[in-house]
Point group: D2
Chain length 340, copies 4
């Protein structure tokens, strides 16, 4: 860490800073600049206590960390890309994964027709929420266990692997009993206890980025899962919250490139949540492929106008088929396989 001392600080107050730095186990190295002194604190920042509390001293202007805070998820620790085996379906590396299905599981007919349609178009994993986190307590909260049953039925009928959201620590084993991949939603991206509970099921985890989570913090949320013993994390960029109102969120496609540079984990893009408008989904999918995403998670519904949640961002079967066809040439340019 670098501790910047305020200009015109007398030597005894600089000595006080140095003493604190050394008390906390770092080696202090003082550099007197033209106008200001900085104290470089040498030591492993991930194992020592942070020095940021030194900001509490009036003679300290700023404390600047030097090292990265994540280790297990970093490219440095694991230069090769991680390929996750979802019960036979690879995610990451040269494989490109398309996860598709309804926002919420609403009924047997809705789910099964969608599962068959997305499979026919080339998806290999089926999404569908049985437990739904809704902003208002008066909105549809999902079918719960009946939803899980329908997801198992859909897998049995189509062979598609199941991606579904975990909302509660209490449900971890229950949901993991059905899911091939546990999804952690954006609103729970820093619900650290849920991350750990999910990790412990041993299932692969799709970790959505929080609404206003910095990339570093998102990687640290993944670090919670890896450090709890589960290496199978897919990062999922799903749009961040900004001032823009035309789109529901601002899809941060640069974050895909950043996450792939900083980490070995596969990165999935959610264009449906990312913009909240079905008409923009195909363009965003193409952009995500070209930017190097390892997969997409796309909301598909037989009749979006009557969906019980987020109909405005779900595409219908015909649009989904066209969308999948339109991605093929981009996947080819990127050297990607994995789509039927």
């Amino acid at each position: 860490m670098i501790v910047v001392i305020k200009p015109h600080t007398p030597p005894d107050l600089i000595a006080e800073v140095i003493a604190e730095v050394e008390k906390l186990g770092y080696t202090a190295h003082t550099i007197s600049g033209a106008l200001q002194t900085v104290v470089a604190a040498i030591g492993d920042e991930t194992t020592h206590t942070t020095l940021e509390s030194l900001n509490a001293l009036p003679q300290v202007e700023r404390v600047m960390p030097v090292q990265k805070r994540y280790k297990l998820v970093s490219r440095e620790s694991h230069p090769e890309p991680t390929v996750i085996d979802v019960d036979g379906v690879p995610v990451g590396g040269s494989a490109f994964a398309v996860i598709a299905g309804p926002c919420s599981v609403e009924s047997e007919e809705q789910l099964l027709t969608t599962a068959h349609a997305v499979k026919a178009a080339g998806a290999t994993l089926l999404r569908g929420g049985a437990y739904k986190p809704r902003t208002s307590p008066y909105e549809f909260q999902g079918l719960g266990q009946e939803g899980l049953r329908l997801l198992r039925l859909a897998r049995q009928e189509t062979g598609l692997k199941i991606v579904t959201e975990l909302l509660s620590e209490y449900d971890a084993d229950l949901v993991a009993g059905t899911a091939d991949v546990l999804q952690i939603g954006a609103r729970n991206s820093q619900n650290f206890r849920l991350l750990i509970a999910a990790a412990k099921t041993g299932k692969p985890i799709l970790l959505k980025r929080g609404l206003s989570q910095r990339i570093e913090e998102w990687l640290l949320s993944a670090e919670y899962i890896l450090s709890a013993g589960n290496p199978n994390v897919m990062l999922c960029e799903r749009g961040i919250r900004t001032f823009e109102t035309y789109t529901r969120n601002t899809l941060d496609l640069a974050a895909v490139a950043v996450a792939k540079r900083e980490s070995h984990l596969p990165v999935i893009v959610d264009p449906s949540q990312g913009c909240g408008r079905a008409d923009l989904v195909p363009s965003l999918c193409a952009g995500a492929v070209a930017l190097g995403a390892d997969g997409l998670i796309i909301e598909v519904h037989p009749n979006p106008a009557e969906a019980l949640s987020d109909g405005q961002q779900q595409v219908d079967f015909k649009s989904f088929g066209r969308l999948m066809d339109s991605l093929n040439p981009f996947l080819k340019v990127m050297g990607r396989t994995g789509k039927a």
Copy 2:
């Protein structure tokens, strides 16, 4: 709801919208404007399915809700301000509550000296985290049950009521066994299952606003707690995430005035998290009082430079004493009581 139809839409496609509106149980009322048609959908928006899914129809330009989505927390449903009884200490109404204490419980000595100091200065509730949500898994995660024991000890010695954070559904009964007020942190503000678990303990709840939670969404998180049968919610503004980097967060003091206008619940301000810098805390406290806040939650530590978490935003005992004295004249102007 108001459904705005795109310009130049032929009558049969307008009829299709009207049919959907009525299928979902609303009465449709069509208004043909100069350039565009709008369909007003008459019906209670909090009990009917939302029409936002109609955005999926290509002839629909926009769907605009008319009604507010929260009921139990609204001023309309409960014009008088709610006063919460925290085991004899009132929060809300004319009473002004000062919650003070360390960010984390670190040791018996740290907690007890702080408890005595904040009591002497006029605080009536003691804060202190036994379970800490930390961005990185390598940071101090709190003392856990030992922290709870120390909080009970501090209450016994000082009579201060205890405010401490609940991180996990599993711990709800355990933490409620010690806490007089359960705190829900900003990162869990839309962890709806945790909100419900907290509600069911029957303890008053301090609900922090999420990092990028709109005021409407914050009130809806409170609505989850009230609709689960617990009316004792204190809203807590603790700064939102913006582009500014000088401060850790941007304290949204206007949100205090908005929340008190929209809701009957008391509103507490957290200036410590709100700016992340001890030197700004006194000014923000004064501003919060003048803006009508019902209380403050302030981080206080015997030696902030050596704090195990967030030392930079904790004030020491002497500063806290001065701060409390400086608030007296503002409290008097506001006609507030409750500080010793």
Copy 3:
């Protein structure tokens, strides 16, 4: 416009709203809903005074505009894409434009070697700032008229068309005497007088989106230029300001798709400003092409580490050549021409 009346408003206060609506020239149409009344105000919102001031009435809860505020830039007014003729180089339609060159014009050697390098790699327009808007008055402000002279020299030597920034109304004719395209920077995107002065030169204009400009506002800035008689506007997405700190800005690639849907104007993407890091530029370029951008503006410098401004986001000649080659297959998929 839709004027939402608060619940429980007595009829005389509703009548007051209706009277104001009609006084301002609209036809009022009242709809009594389950809980609330709304007044639909019928009339052309772009020629009538806005009703938003009615929010000043205590019985009004909200005023919601219905119509779009932009006309000349809208797709509705001009369904075909605009193709701008930059002195023989087309921008828009099937043509894809690559604008490349240094952030600032620094010297004859720097500019001419760069011009030759970017031309060899396939760019058709040369960028370079002679007048630089800098956050601090102590930073390099550009070479001014000498910079303009060097840009003319570069055009003469390479045939590349010149894109350079206009900072001041006073300089409009001077800069237009050199520029083939006038650039309006992000910080001037709502400097309406500069927009009008630029429009009046008759030169095509590259209009950058402001740091926190909503898409609607960006289109309205373009509307200023079109309504001042200049139809040749290229919209330029260059990243918006968010909470993320890994990248300098957050490139909003969805805005490309939105702008092309809402408007007939060509849309250019600036990945250099968009992320502020040279290493991310190639991925963002590929994404921009796949998302339907009509061109790119890329910062290129012979030795970025010694650049007088923004070296961290400029690519060197070798990287630029590789980048251009890597875009070819994406351009082919998109059916784009225009690159050598």
Copy 4:
């Protein structure tokens, strides 16, 4: 500056960085840490070229500036608060200034009745826009020179000093011929040429913070004015753009405390723009006083519902009178004078 080298960089590539640092005139000082090397570059950062371009080198992980970039506006350079003399009315120090008046000058009657009303309530400066920056070209753009004439008339009749906005370099002398204080609007806060043109008139300047301007950047905009020879700048916090939609902007009241700590310039708060809702203005005014603001700029209109611009945020005469009365006890606590 501190240049952080990536882990595992071989010595020759570190030497390359050191060579660049020294080539740019700094003295390099190398510190080898546990995992990483940092190069401290010693030299005055405000007179040397920035090293941020070194980020272009692949072995550089990050460049961190140490010094502050503003000098003339800093508290360090000028420990006493600046008191600006606006033709006899002091702004700053113990004086508290209330600037009030309509958003736009609309007519003689509107302006004069407002001027008399705000004077009677205790304001000492009159605001009113003759040139209005409007998001859409179809909105009311102000009365121009006729508006200036009316402002002069209002000053003659009431003695109130005039605060009015400068939109264009071309108008600098014209507007300065009427104004006692030139206002620079949020959308022009980084229109550096306008800042310089305004500075050169010699009139005091009210500099609004940009919609998404960091505090450091706002101070640097002020630095442009001071370094152009005009020391009379009032900083004006007017709300920043965030994701919140209930209020038009998010008033950053902490920025008042920060600006007063970092700079000697007076800080004015604009609650009208800051929230965009007249009903919140009184609370925000009280908060601003308690937080240490040196003045307020408040929009007042005889009939806000019929205002030609921003009626929703303007208060009427009666509300303004009550508001002014309500501020008195807060001003007394703060030891402020200046209100009648």
